[in-house]
């Protein structure tokens, strides 16, 4: 009932995911998506072919071509009269027109359309059709469904570019909306690699491409009804490092930093002890803590009534480190008969804590006493609290070590989550947009299956994926191997984009529902090709998206 086979001329070019139309009863037409194409001949066995070349002479020319045909297997996706009985024998099969394809895929009835790429049918033939594919934006930004997960191997899948393309489409759409509309959006993007996303408001110069490429890409954007301008309203945040320090905390050149600062586009982020001690736990996201001693220490630190840390006794990171150092010394029997202080937590735990804290905060300019706003410095949480609509915040964590990346990311996600929960509503100038999109590459670092259950970041991410839909926090996550990601994270994503991956990955049970042709196809998708799954689509769609329109660094 849901599949049919048809034969074609062996020279007809069809591809998996192409849509064909087949006659059905009551003058209706059924539409099918091609899943597999095979070629058969009248040769009974391979031996027949071998003998046909004079027992192995490869140069033999045959005066007659062996009779052969192609047959394709297609899955029924739609019938224009809702008749889903099996397609009959000898029914004629046609190529579909652009309108019919749109109808067959259910793309004609998409509300709140948001372009997510284009699809090509009958590629490489005279009948080639290119169609824009629209998603219902309520199913990716909420409230009906939210979150996007992009998977694919590095380099070949261009996950970041796809996420950026989608965000570009979203920004374009919201820029057109009236100022006083209820719906608004802002973006928080983490730059995890080089300078990749550190110039998304600069146009792509196409300097490494062949001539004419720019015009071609622009035409593609126009065909999708998108502007050909890069992102607007972009702010960059880089970790603070003093100008004198030899170790810079960003891959951005000093000239670029200066230029950005001149336009008030860039700020350096600092963490002060007093305001950010609550985020300390983020540093421990990847640390095994079976006895929950680290957790106990952290809760002691943020406890305002604590005899060691509370009540404003500690003001700077230096004070903090001294105090911790002090506590890790104490166990040594200082004097006879003297009672051990802080006996709840063993001194070994304090030492472990101290090692981690020292490694992270010592010699790092980012952990400073206070930000100086006159020098373009700020606290990240403060900046995010005041995020305004259509703003794009790019947070550069590329050069930070992994634990501090987690720290920054965790802190930012928590701030955004709390912001949308309304925790800062009482503060001045806090006017969050209705939707905030957070994009993070390498999601596997924070929400993999192996991440300890106690990880505060995993907790944040789960909060976002499970409740963010209604709150208006949308996670765009990307990772190499989807099978590594925590089930509750992928399970809550409404939209999935599958880029090129390898066969080890497709063999995992995450891909079990795909037909084998699609699995094989996933291993040889071209750069810029994605399979998209969304609740409003009747089936998986293979889409393409144009090259990035913002500046590229090689």
């Amino acid at each position: 009932m849901d599949k049919f086979n048809f034969w074609t001329n062996s020279d007809l070019k069809l591809h998996a995911f192409d849509i064909v139309k087949v006659e059905h009863i009551d003058n209706s037409f059924s539409f099918g998506v091609i899943e597999n194409i095979s070629h058969i001949t009248d040769a009974q066995s391979f031996l027949t072919n071998f003998i046909s070349s004079d027992f192995g002479d490869v140069n033999v020319e045959e005066p007659t071509l062996r009779v052969g045909m192609n047959y394709a297997e297609a899955a029924i996706s739609f019938n224009d009269r809702n008749i889903y009985t099996p397609v009959h024998n000898n029914a004629r099969v046609y190529l579909a027109t652009a309108e019919e394809i749109t109808m067959a895929l259910g793309l004609d009835k998409v509300q709140n359309p948001l372009v997510c790429g284009s699809l090509k049918m009958y590629e490489g033939t005279d009948d080639e059709i290119t169609l824009p594919v629209n998603l219902n934006s309520k199913f990716i930004l909420g409230p009906e469904g939210a979150h996007l997960n992009i998977s694919g191997i590095s380099g070949l899948a261009s996950k970041t570019s796809y996420a950026m393309f989608l965000m570009k489409a979203i920004q374009d759409q919201y820029l057109k909306v009236d100022d006083d509309a209820d719906d608004s959006v802002a973006f928080v993007i983490f730059n995890v690699k080089g300078r990749d996303l550190m110039a998304i408001d600069r146009p792509n110069d196409f300097i490494d491409d062949k001539p004419g490429e720019k015009e071609r890409v622009f035409a593609e954007y126009e065909a999708l009804k998108l502007s050909t301008e890069p992102f607007k309203n972009v702010k960059y945040y880089i970790p603070f490092s003093s100008n004198t320090s030899a170790k810079q905390s960003t891959y951005l050149g000093t000239d670029d930093v200066k230029a950005y600062m001149e336009y008030n586009q860039l700020k350096k982020i600092k963490y002060s002890y007093e305001d950010d001690k609550e985020s300390l736990e983020m540093l421990f996201a990847d640390i095994d803590d079976p006895q929950q001693t680290m957790e106990a220490i952290i809760s002691k630190i943020i406890d305002d009534t604590d005899p060691d840390f509370g009540g404003g006794r500690i003001a700077t990171w230096q004070d903090f480190r001294d105090k911790v150092d002090d506590l890790s010394q104490r166990s040594q029997p200082a004097a006879k008969g003297q009672q051990r202080v802080s006996n709840e937590i063993s001194v070994l735990s304090w030492r472990k804590f101290k090692r981690i804290i020292n490694k992270a905060t010592k010699n790092d300019d980012m952990f400073a006493n206070r930000p100086d706003s006159s020098k373009h410095e700020c606290r990240l949480a403060d900046a995010l609290k005041h995020i305004s609509k259509n703003e794009v915040c790019v947070i550069d964590v590329a050069k930070l070590p992994e634990d501090k990346q987690a720290f920054v990311f965790g802190d930012a996600v928590r701030t955004i989550y709390n912001l949308k929960l309304g925790e800062y509503d009482s503060e001045e100038n806090v006017n969050p947009p209705s939707r905030i999109i957070v994009f993070i590459d390498e999601l596997n670092k924070y929400a993999s299956k192996e991440t300890p259950k106690t990880s505060p970041i995993l907790r944040e991410i789960l909060d976002v994926t499970e409740r963010g839909r209604s709150l208006g926090v949308v996670l765009f996550g990307a990772e190499q191997f989807r099978s590594n990601i925590h089930q509750r994270v992928t399970g809550n994503c409404s939209t999935h984009a599958y880029g090129r991956t390898n066969s080890i990955e497709t063999a995992t049970k995450d891909y079990g529902s795909l037909p084998s042709t699609y699995k094989n196809m996933l291993t040889r998708l071209e750069q810029g090709d994605y399979l998209i799954q969304n609740p409003i689509f009747r089936s998986l769609l293979k889409i393409k998206f144009p090259k990035p329109i913002y500046k590229q660094f090689k």
């Binding site: 031996l47 003998i51 004079d54 045959e62 005066p63 007659t64």
Partner: protein, 383 residues
């Protein structure tokens, strides 16, 4: 069957129905000694094998074709019932009722692909000649017509084209079944001849477009053909551009150039060689039709089951007086043979046991014809 019973006044036994095609095709019967090997029939009197390997390779590269049309006829014969007729002395003799499907198809090769050109199908019956009690000419045709008026047949759109009487006189030791089969076979050959004539009429055959016919060309010209001299020459002319390619032949009648049976001469034919062309006349067909016959080896002896597998027997009718006198131009024979050698690939190994002698376009034509048949079951249920 009931209609037949009534029309012919016999008694139907509703006997077991079965196919008669288990045996090889009967036309291998022409292996009796009636064919006379006369002389060489080519312009250059070769005495030994002629190698065509170089020529065939040269032609293969040129990518041209002379062999354009392929024709094959086939028939499927069933014994569908027994019918009893009263004969002298009140005895009742039981005769088999034979029915057959005849299919003749022609395919054309365009750009290396074989496409159907023509097809004819017939369903015929064969009854004993004494079924016609009155001996009136036209009786059988009338009966066929009556049969076709039967509602059931009309509904499924099937027509019996004719009823062929087979001889019941006891002058040969052949079984009645075989006699019926032979009648149907003759009918098939008639149809084949008609199709050749049609192709010639339509001007499709010429020096660049030969027809390769599956099986022998030993067609018996019909009486009408013979009686009219002009018509007779036309019959011969029809075959100017026709080659007969036989997969099966009786090695015993492979007479050598000296007129003695010498199967070894053919069995030892080396790969891609042909024998000299011999000319023979057949009593069976009458003196004035002379055939040029030669053999070609398509496949190495090592790779076939018997030494005669992989050998193709080629026949051509000598049409003009010049050909009759001097034989066919040897160069033409070489060229045609080389083309036939190139036809050795692809093979139908696995689908047909006769793969070694089959040439693929003919095999396709045969498959095409057979695909048009009613299945044995549906056919038998007509009766």
């Amino acid at each position: 069957m009931t209609v037949l019973e009534k029309e012919t006044g016999g008694k139907s036994y509703k006997a077991h129905k079965y196919g008669l095609d288990h045996a090889e095709r009967p036309y291998i019967d022409y292996g009796d000694d009636s064919i006379i090997w006369k002389k060489t029939a080519e312009s250059f009197p070769h005495r030994k094998y002629v190698s065509l390997e170089a020529l065939s390779k040269k032609l293969a590269i040129r990518n041209e074709q002379l062999l354009t049309f392929f024709l094959d006829g086939s028939r499927r014969v069933f014994k569908v019932d027994d019918i009893a007729y009263k004969v002298s002395g009140g005895r009742s003799v039981i005769y088999p009722v034979i029915a057959g499907q005849i299919g003749v198809g022609c395919c054309r090769r365009i750009n290396k692909t074989v496409v159907p050109e023509k097809f004819k199908r017939e369903i015929v019956l064969s009854l004993p000649d004494i079924a016609d009690a009155d001996g009136i000419p036209g009786f059988f045709n009338a009966t066929a017509k009556k049969l076709n008026e039967c509602v059931e047949l009309k509904r499924i759109g099937i027509e019996f084209s004719t009823i062929l009487p087979y001889k019941t006189a006891k002058n040969t030791d052949k079984k009645f079944e075989d006699r019926g089969t032979a009648c149907i076979q003759d009918r098939m050959i008639e149809r084949e001849k008609e199709m050749v004539a049609e192709l010639v009429r339509e001007g499709k055959l010429n020096q660049d477009n030969y027809l390769v016919k599956d099986g022998s060309l030993e067609y018996k010209p019909s009486k009408e053909d013979k009686s009219d001299k002009k018509k007779y020459q036309m019959f011969k002319n029809n075959y100017s551009w026709v080659l007969g390619a036989s997969k099966n032949f009786n090695p015993e009648i492979c007479l050598d150039i000296n007129g003695k049976p010498n199967p070894g001469f053919i069995a030892d034919l080396p790969l891609y060689h042909r024998t000299p062309v011999a000319c023979f006349v057949s009593d069976f067909l009458g003196d004035d039709i002379q055939f040029a016959v030669w053999y070609i080896r398509l496949r190495d002896k090592k790779q076939t089951r018997t030494p005669f597998d992989g050998i193709l027997k080629v026949e051509k009718i000598l049409v003009t007086q010049e050909e009759v006198d001097n034989g066919i131009d040897s160069d033409l024979v070489d060229t045609l043979s080389a083309y036939l050698i190139n036809e050795r690939n692809p093979v139908c190994y696995g689908s047909d046991l006769r793969w070694a002698n089959h040439i693929y376009p003919v095999y396709l034509t045969e498959s095409f014809v057979k695909s048009k048949y009613l299945s044995a079951e549906s056919f038998l249920h007509l009766f």
